[in-house]
Symmetry: C2
Subunit: 123 residues, 2 copies
Amino acid sequence: MKKKAVINNNLPCKTEITAIKDTMEILSGKWKFHIIGTLSLGKKLRFMDLLREVDGIGTKMLSKELQDLEMNQLISRIVLNTKPVTVEYQITDFGKTLIPIIDEIAKWGIEYRNFVYKNKRRV
Amino acid sequence: MKKKAVINNNLPCKTEITAIKDTMEILSGKWKFHIIGTLSLGKKLRFMDLLREVDGIGTKMLSKELQDLEMNQLISRIVLNTKPVTVEYQITDFGKTLIPIIDEIAKWGIEYRNFVYKNKRRV
DNA sequence: CAGGATCCTTTACGATACTG
DNA sequence: CAGTATCGTAAAGGATCCTG
């Protein structure tokens, strides 16, 4: 009776492993979270703005990461036809669905610090 | 009146950026999520077990990732003094605090599939 | 301004062989 | 069994210069 086959919902099964791999591939690299985080404020930012906001990034990486994110429809790229072109980047509605993840990760990072600190003191 | 300085709680500020970097560094690499996910079932697993469970991993990577995870106190390593030594790995209570993140990431990965699928059909 | 092209360094990862 | 050592490849990332 206890032995019926169960599809585990909150424990990792094949589907979830795949889903995790997908997510991590989309968000892989040193900068994606940082860029999404910056854009998640909702403001439109230009290339140069991002270059300043995202701490140590260079043009090559920024350019590449933005392309990746756009391709996955997490951000949108709007070109304005001004004299020297202006390009604005903005998070999409779909991109905003990442915010819960980002929050969880940030929360955990803070907990981690506390945990390490406590343990240092005890030992 | 509306202009008081606010420490944003749900929007990325410096502390959160740092926290995110910490978390991502701890969970970086191709295998950590997979290993944690496997161990998050709560069972003690041995090196060979993990080598089988974690899909394409090799001894070198498994060994290295386990060391990283142990160093950060996410898993524990228990050596039993049997003839050929037996070593058991187990998730720690602290390691279990990662489960919400893993769940969020898995959830999002599934949503992502749906999103892509819908968009393909519309266009 | 926005970003592409180029070159170079570093890190990640993988396969295989070997050891207590 | 539970790894380490060694070697080799591929990918990530960085610095700098260049262009419409």
